[in-house]
Structures are given as C-alpha cells and as structure tokens.
C-alpha cells in the first residue's frame, strides 16, 4: 500500500536503472513551473475546482453544516439520502455529509505533511548529490536504494506500534520513506541542470555551491516538485485512509474517511448505500490530485513514433488514398528504365491533427536519379533533406506525411502506395541507412539474428543458407572477422563497424536504390573516408543508385554524380556535381562553398572563412518570396516575389534565383565579412535570427 517509488506522470516512462538516470544528463534543462498548464485540461480544472470547494467547505464546516459530527439521529439509522440527511446516515444515525466535510480538512492537512517531508527531503538530497560530486551521490543513492527496498507498510505499522496513532508524526515518517523515490526522480534533472553551461559559468564566477543549487538548480526543478507534490498528496491521502480503515486512524468518535469506509464495510449487507458517499469523496479527491499532477507533468512534445499507432496508420491510409485520387494516374511508360527514381513536385507537411498542424516541411521538390548514379541532397539542418529522403521509403515519422506530388519508382507512384504495399518495396527495392548506426540497430538482438532474420524475410532463404549469406554480406562490407561480429550485440562494436553492419543490413534484400541519410556524419573522420569508399565500390559493383543526404560538400565532391541543393524545404539549385561545384549559380550554393574549409584549395584559401548569417527559418516562418533572401548578400526587392526553378544555363541544371544570371555575369563572390552596408538591401527578415542575447536568456530561463 505504500509505493516504494514516487509515481511518475502517466505519460513518462520511469527511469528504472542507474543507466537510465545517467541518460537524462544529456537532455536539456527541465522546464520551469508555469501555472498555465494547470488550466490546460478539463481534468485538472475540475481537480482544482473540487479541491478548492472541499477545502473551503471543510474550513467553514462549523458555520454551515446541518449536524455536528457526533449528533445521533435514532429515527434515521442507516438511512439513504433523505431531505434531512442529504447523503444518508451511518449505523448510529450520524449525518454522513457533515462527517465527510468536517473530516476533510484533517485528512488534507495531514497529507500535506507527507508531501512536504517527502518532496522537501527528496529534492534536498537530489540537489546535494548533484552538487557534491560522485562520491556523495553514490552514498546517497545507496542509502535511498536500501530505503526503497523496505516493506513500507509493515514499517509504518511498526512505527504506529511504537508511537501510537499520532497521525502527523506517522505521515511525516511516511514522507521520509517516500523521499527515496522522489530523490530518484529528481536526481537526473538536478544533474542535468548542474551540468548546464551557465552553471559552469557561475562556478567560474565564484558562486558558491549552495548559491548555484538555490539560484540555478532549484528553479529548474520547480515543475517536477509541483508535479510530485500533487501525486504524493494523493498517495498520502490513500495511505492515511487505508490506515484508518484497518483501525489506525484518529481516535473514536472523531470521524475520518478511512474509518467511515471501514464502518460502511460492516453494513454492506444491510445498508450498501453507506459506502458510496465517503468512498466517492475520497476517490474524487485522489483523482483531482492525480489529474493536477498529470496535467503539470505532461511532457510537452514527445519524439515522434517510428511506427505510428493503428489509429494513426488508418488516418495515413486515408491521406494516401486522397493523394492517389488527386494525382494523375502514373503514366506507366514501357520505356521507363528499371531502377529510375523520379520525384515530381513532392510536398511533405505536418498532419492536420495535433501541434503545428498544416505546416509545410518540404514544398515542390523534384529530382531524378538514374540507375547506377548517386544523387546528393545538400543543405543545412532543417532544410527538409531527411524528410525528403524518408518519404522515398514511406517512413516519415508519425504526424508527418506526403501532402502532394509524386514519387515515381519504375513508373509506380510510391506517394500513393499504401503502407502495406510499401512493404514489398522496402528492403527489396529501396533500402535505408541512417545517421547513427548505433541507434539504427536493435540493442536487444545480436547482429547475426538481425541480419539472418532480414535475409530470410527478404530473400526467402532457409536458416543455414541465410547464416552463410549474412557472413558473405559482412565480408562484402569489409568486415574481416565476420563470424565473430555475427555473435556480438550492437553495443559491443564500434560506430564504424556498426555502420558497416547497417549497410550489410540494407544490402540484405539486394536493393536497387539506397537512401543514405548522412551515413558518415556521426563517425570519426578516418572512418568516414572508409565508409564513403565502401559505398562508392558498392555502387560500381552492384549497379545500384544512391540518394545521399549530406551537409558535407566534401562528400558530394567525393561520391555524387548529381546534386540537389535544398534550402528551407525547396530545391534551390540542381545539376551535375562538377558543374555545380565549379560554377555555382545560386547564392546559397555559393555561400555553402565559401563556408566549407575543404572546398577551398590550399593556395587560394581566404584569410577569413565565410559564414552565412542567421539560421534557416522555421517552416512556419517561410516567406512567400525567396526563402533565402533574409540571409542573402545579394538580395533585392525582386526577391520578395515567389521564385521559379529555371534552367541555369549550365548543362541541364536548374536554379531558383532571380539574380542568377546577373551574378554569373558579374562573377560575384560570397564575402567572408559581414554584409557590407552597400549590399545590404531593404529586405526585412520575417523573423530576426536569434541573437546571442536571446539564446543566453533562453538558457537562463
């Protein structure tokens, strides 16, 4: 009956191991408490209202209650609701309504003792452990571990044996027992706050440990403190009522909720009504506290699921059907070469239900990939490259879907293909390798199991044959001791090795097209080169094509035949790699090249490396005109109009810039300095790039 761990809010998984606690360290600073969430849901509004009514009614009880708690009405013993006794009476004819409200204040008040002790002590210990370093943390954690492995209920009963039914005292000791659970919930957050850069800065400034804890850590914990307080309040009430139920409540005849329910349980045969009012009152109060805690503790926005729920899949199927009916029937030309991908006017957006509904993430993107060639999708983070790439496999995260356009694979429109039907395409025709190989492999299964299961599924092989093929594949991707690697779990191999395994996994179904989402970004530089050369040789050997998402122009120069430069959800320039690298036509491409230390040759390395001021605008802030204008050194008033993608004049290349021709003629370079006044044209950016000031303020908040 006594929870050994503080209850976590319903939608947050509880950290169960020390490893989980450590993991939280990487997250950003927890949010400060804001009251607005309290009134964000019906449940919490109702909860606040009920608690307010209860407290007010209970405190003013002597003024308005129709009966005293010990008044006995022998004409109405064990009665149901009547005009005189609205909620009925008990076995001595005492008025239930009066007894419930008269005893509410005591129940609520003593439960608050548990809250103060549990949350106060738990928070203090967590702040101490976070501030005082590993040794203290280990000691405190060990003690709380022991506290949490105690049989709480029995210990509380033994305490009652020693001190009697001194309820405030018992609720205080209960708080001490619960504080161990609170400590575990708080520790991760306190440590994460303690490791923030501004805390380091404060330390350098000579702020004392206690000062840091009070000024920087405690404010960040307020939301969790309030959430836990609400939940522990509920726990306290339940336990207190439970104790009174088994006879350890306030002395008779003083009423208590648990005692009244105990009384009702004696009359379940002759007066079943009696259990209803008190039980419902207690349940409502506990429910209210829980509702408040859960509303405050709701994580603002969880990471999207990689496998949408059944309900979400049904919605997506509807969206696919809409696209299928809206798009012109794919022209299945007999002439379409095997293994060609044509993306036509692809748009991706956030679904209409949920947060940020209707925001466009990718608009009007078109490109082609011929068999055996490599296309690079280049741009900064937040330009829609990954969304474009994932849409090729129909693997957009939950809540995001294709809103228009066509993805023609061998003439078949994948954008209008159901998820079920996509299962015949994924792995067999189009495969995926992703950025973080460690996270792309299932940590719970061996490399061998993951590979053989995939090979058996995609190639219909038997177990032994698949095992052999798995070894072949690993050797093909350059793993020498394949037999050993097959037996390992993903965490036992290095990042580069894991990426080779991930590539082997992608090759398991002998795909014709490989979608590679920044496959080298998370790897060491030397390993990057190895993986790239592996991919290059796979393209030559197998004749498959590759869509390579990258922000690294070195990778583009190394491996790509064609390039599509993306900015803010659009293709701004595309064409052959050599012509784009040698002769960029769009200012953004120009800027990317000027900002890349590797793209500049050693002899003409500029003194200062160029930068691109500001950031890629958020999708909701995209202007109607040129989306790059706010950051462009060459922007002018003409850039406020929507810009079409037009032939750039260099081969079959296209460019989306009204000034492309002019810039080509004048041969302007992206300057390494700040935008000169003469060139800064009367463009007002729709959204000011976040200045350092705001970043600092945000972090301090």
């Amino acid at each position: 009956m006594i929870p050994n761990v503080a209850p976590a809010p319903a939608d947050q998984a509880q950290p169960t191991t020390a490893a989980d606690l450590r993991k939280t360290r990487r997250q950003g600073a927890p949010k400060k408490f804001t009251g607005s969430k309290l009134f964000g849901s019906f449940g919490s509004i109702a909860g606040v209202a009920w608690l307010a009514v209860l407290v007010a009614a209970s405190l003013t009880a002597p003024l308005w209650l129709p009966f005293k708690t010990e008044d006995q009405d022998f004409t109405a013993v064990l009665s149901g609701p009547t005009a005189a006794h609205w909620l009925g009476t008990d076995e001595l004819g005492r008025d239930l309504l009066s007894r419930i409200f008269a005893s509410a204040a005591g129940t609520l008040g003593t439960s608050i003792i548990t809250v103060i002790v549990a949350v106060g002590l738990g928070t203090l210990l967590a702040m101490l452990a976070a501030a005082a370093g590993e040794r203290v943390e280990n000691a405190v954690s060990r003690v709380t571990e022991i506290m949490m492995s105690l049989p709480g209920t029995v210990i509380i009963l033994a305490v009652i044996g020693a001190v009697g039914t001194n309820i405030p005292m018992i609720m205080g000791i209960l708080g001490v027992l619960i504080s161990a659970g609170i400590y575990r919930v708080m520790l991760g957050q306190a440590k994460s706050l303690q490791s923030q850069l501004y805390v380091d800065a404060a330390k350098v400034d000579g702020v004392s440990t206690a000062g840091i804890s009070l000024r920087h850590v405690l404010p960040g914990l307020t939301n969790t403190i309030v959430v836990q307080a609400a939940l522990i309040f509920a726990v306290g009430m339940l336990i207190q009522a439970g104790l009174a139920f088994i006879g350890f409540g306030p002395p008779i005849p003083q009423p208590s909720w648990g005692g009244m329910i105990q009384g009702a349980s004696q009359h379940v045969y002759d007066a079943p009504w009696m259990m209803v009012p008190t039980g419902a009152g207690l349940a409502l109060t506990v429910l209210s506290a829980n509702a408040i805690g859960n509303a405050l503790g709701k994580a603002p926005n969880a990471t999207a699921s990689h496998l949408p729920s059944a309900a979400a899949r049904r919605q997506r199927a509807k969206a696919v059907a809409t696209i299928a009916s809206a798009a012109p029937a794919p022209v299945t030309q007999d002439g379409v070469a095997k293994g060609t991908l044509s993306v036509r006017n692809l748009s991706v957006g956030v679904d209409s239900t949920g947060a940020g509904s209707g925001v466009r993430l990718v608009t009007d993107v078109s490109f082609d990939v011929e068999q055996g060639t490599v296309l690079g999708l280049v741009g900064e983070s937040g330009c829609g490259k990954t969304m474009t790439a994932l849409s090729l496999l129909g693997l957009l995260p939950s809540g995001v879907s294709v809103t228009g356009g066509q993805i023609l694979w061998n003439g078949r429109n994948l954008a209008a293909t159901t998820d079920k039907a996509m299962e015949t395409v994924r792995g067999r025709d189009i495969a995926l390798i992703s950025q973080e190989p460690m996270r792309a492999l299932d940590p719970m299964f061996t490399v061998g199991y993951q590979l053989t299961a995939t090979i058996r599924r995609l190639r219909g092989m038997g177990k032994a044959e698949a095992r052999e093929e798995a070894r072949n594949l690993l050797e093909k991707v350059g793993i020498v001791d394949a037999a050993r690697i097959l037996k390992t779990y993903p965490h036992q191999i290095s990042g580069g090795m894991a990426q080779r395994v991930a590539i082997a996994l992608a090759l398991a179904g002998q795909p014709k097209l490989l979608v590679a989402d920044e496959p080298t970004t998370a790897l060491d530089v030397t390993v990057q080169a190895e993986i790239l050369s592996l991919l290059r040789s796979l393209v030559t050997d197998t004749g498959m094509s590759v869509v390579m998402v990258t922000h690294d122009l070195g990778v583009v120069a190394d491996i790509c035949d064609q390039v599509a430069v993306m900015y803010a959800g659009q293709v701004v320039e595309n064409g052959r790699t050599d012509s784009i690298l040698d002769n960029p036509r769009h200012p953004y491409t120009l800027a990317l090249l000027a900002a890349d230390p590797h793209a500049n040759h050693a002899n003409d390395m500029p003194e200062r490396l160029a930068t691109i001021q500001g950031q890629v605008p958020q999708p909701k802030d995209w202007p109607t005109g040129c989306r790059f204008a706010a950051r462009c050194q060459f922007a002018g008033s003409a850039c406020l109009e929507p810009v079409p993608l037009l032939p750039s004049g260099a081969g079959e290349g296209l460019v989306r810039c009204v000034k492309a021709d002019q810039l080509a003629v004048e041969g302007m370079d992206w300057l390494a300095t700040d935008v000169p006044a003469a060139r800064a044209l009367e463009i007002t950016p729709t959204q000011n790039p976040r200045s350092l000031q705001t970043i600092v303020e945000k972090d301090l908040a």
């Binding site: 050994n4 191991t17 105690l150 006879g247 349980s265 969880a302 496998l307 995939t454």
Partner: protein
C-alpha cells in the same frame, strides 16, 4: 564472465543481507519503544508489579540492548523468532502458517495485474486513438480508487448481490484447491484493479518509448511485418521497465495485503501485524517486519538478476 557473474551475485547477496540486518536493528529499536514491558503486556492489566518484574527478568528485558539484540539475532538465524506475548505461541510457527496466505494473495494479484496491465498497456500503445484514450481514462480512474473501497463494492456486487464468490475467509490449498481459488478470487481481483492500472500505464509508456527508437525505423525499412516489430522487437525493448514495474507491484501488493486481509478476514501476515501492533506484542511485530523485509529484498534480488539477464548490455559486462 562466469567469475564476474559470481562476484556480482555475491555482492548483491551481501547488500541484501546488510539491508535485512539494518531493518532488524530498526525493528528491534522500534519494538523497544513500544509502550509497556513484555511482562505488562503478557500478564495483562491487574498483574502485580512483582509478577511483571519476574517475567521481564526471565525474558532478559533488563539486559543491555545490544545483548538483547544479539540474543534475538542468534535465535532468529536458527529460525526461532521468539514467542508471542499474548498467547505464548511460537512466532515462527505462527508466521509460517500465515505466509502462504499472503504469498498466494500477493502472487495471484501480481499475476492478474501483469496479465491485465501488459494486455491493456500494449493495446493502448499499439491501437492509439480512441482506444488509447479509453484505456488511459479507465487506468487513471483505477489507480485513484482506494483498494478497500473497491473491495467493498466487489463484495456487494459479487458476493452479496450474486453469490459468485464467498465474501470472506480463506480455505487452505491443501483442504480444497477449488475452494482455495474461490476464496482468493475477490481479494485478488480487488488488489489487481490498482496494480493492473499501474502496470498498464508503465507498459504503455515503455512501449511508446520503444517505438520511438530509431531501430524501429530500420526494421520497417527492411520490411519487417508490423506484428513482429510490435510483439518481438518493441515489446522486448520495453520488457525491462515492464518487469521492473511488475516486481514493484509485487512488493506493493505484499504490503497492500494488510488491507485485503482485513476486508476479507484472511489469516495472513497483514492480519498478524495489525493484531500484534494493536496488542503491543513485540516479538510478533519484530518477526513480521523481518519476514516482510526478507521477502521484499529477495524480490528485488530476483528483479536485479532478471534485469541482468534481459539486458544484453548488462549481461555482457
């Protein structure tokens, strides 16, 4: 690896032993703080001071505290927890007869909670939408309802209104397995309402977290069928927190049995602790505290071993 495993188990066993010892000391001190000396309690009101003193002297009540503790500990490790001050019966024998009652109650409630909780939690996470909201609402309600109140409602509905189950009492397994099951039904269902809701929430959250992992996308990219992603890969990933939640529930239900035993008049450990606390029967209280601690510590030990077995990262290191 064998050696490290043995080392790990040894370390954990020592830790568990230390916990039990700490609790034993704590219980000993608490019991000593109880009002009334053993003589006064066992002889009852109206006994002469001389008789009381005599009993106290015989029981070693006047010895120094450490000496008393070690005497108790010496017999406790041999399985002798002393005699009850109230009826003079052996505490060990009494608790041994009560342990199966509480154990069947807690185990039954845990199994039912786990089945209900995992089933509903997985369903909520997998189906989403309206189903998820309904299960979430019901689970939110169920964790807030006090077990003793739910119990009375069940008694009213299933024992009084329609006599499906007996309302109170306990039938030992040896006398009639069928009646044993029937006598456990109501208390088990009562405890499983809150327990099941807790595990359902834990399962739902763990499943959703599992489905957010990037390897789920890899599985989809290699055309793994949805059922396999959900019930082999995601459930396997979620199994660690779910198992931890179930172990936690067992411990809580073991404590929660105090209430169920009171409500359904079952002769278990909970009833023993309640009686002995009311009557200031020091040896009995101390005995129950130690037994309950051993059970809880043992469950935690099993959980830790299970976690080590389930998590490849821990298994290898």
């Amino acid at each position: 690896m064998e050696v490290t495993m043995a080392l790990f188990i040894t370390k954990r066993l020592l830790m568990a032993l230390a916990t039990v010892l700490v609790v034993a000391v704590l219980a000993f001190l608490l019991v000593h703080a109880m009002p009334g000396s053993p003589g006064a309690v066992s002889l009852g009101a109206g006994a002469s001071q001389q008789a009381i003193d005599e009993v106290n002297q015989r029981m070693g009540w006047n010895d120094p505290l450490p000496a008393q503790f070690f005497t108790w500990l010496g017999s406790a490790v041999q399985g002798d927890l002393g005699v009850s001050l109230i009826d003079g019966r052996s505490v060990s024998a009494d608790l041994a007869s009560r342990l199966p009652v509480t154990a069947s109650l807690a185990a039954g409630a845990t199994v039912l909670s786990a089945v209900l909780g995992i089933g509903l939690g997985v369903t909520a996470a997998v189906r989403g939408g309206v189903v998820d909201r309904i299960i979430g609402g019901v689970a939110g309600m169920a964790v807030a309802l006090p077990a003793f109140w739910i119990g009375i409602i069940f008694v009213y509905l299933l024992a009084v209104q329609s006599s499906v189950f007996p309302a109170t009492g306990y039938v030992p397994f040896e006398s009639s397995p069928q009646d044993w099951a029937l006598s456990l039904a109501l208390p088990v269902i009562t405890l499983a309402v809150g327990g099941g809701a807790f595990i359902a929430r834990q399962t739902r959250a763990s499943m959703l977290e599992a489905l957010q992992q990037e390897h789920i996308r890899t599985l989809r990219a290699t055309a793994t069928p949805t059922w396999k992603i959900l019930y082999v890969h995601a459930l396997r990933y979620a199994s660690l927190p779910i198992v931890a939640g179930i172990a936690l529930q067992f411990i809580q239900l073991f404590g929660g049995s105090v209430i169920a035993e009171q409500l359904f008049a079952m002769p278990g450990l909970g009833q023993a602790v309640q009686n002995s606390v009311s009557t200031h029967d020091a040896p009995s209280v101390q005995g129950v505290v130690v037994i309950a601690t051993v059970v809880v510590v043992a469950v935690n030990l099993v959980l830790e071993l299970a976690t080590k077995f389930l998590d490849p990262k821990l298994r290898a290191s």
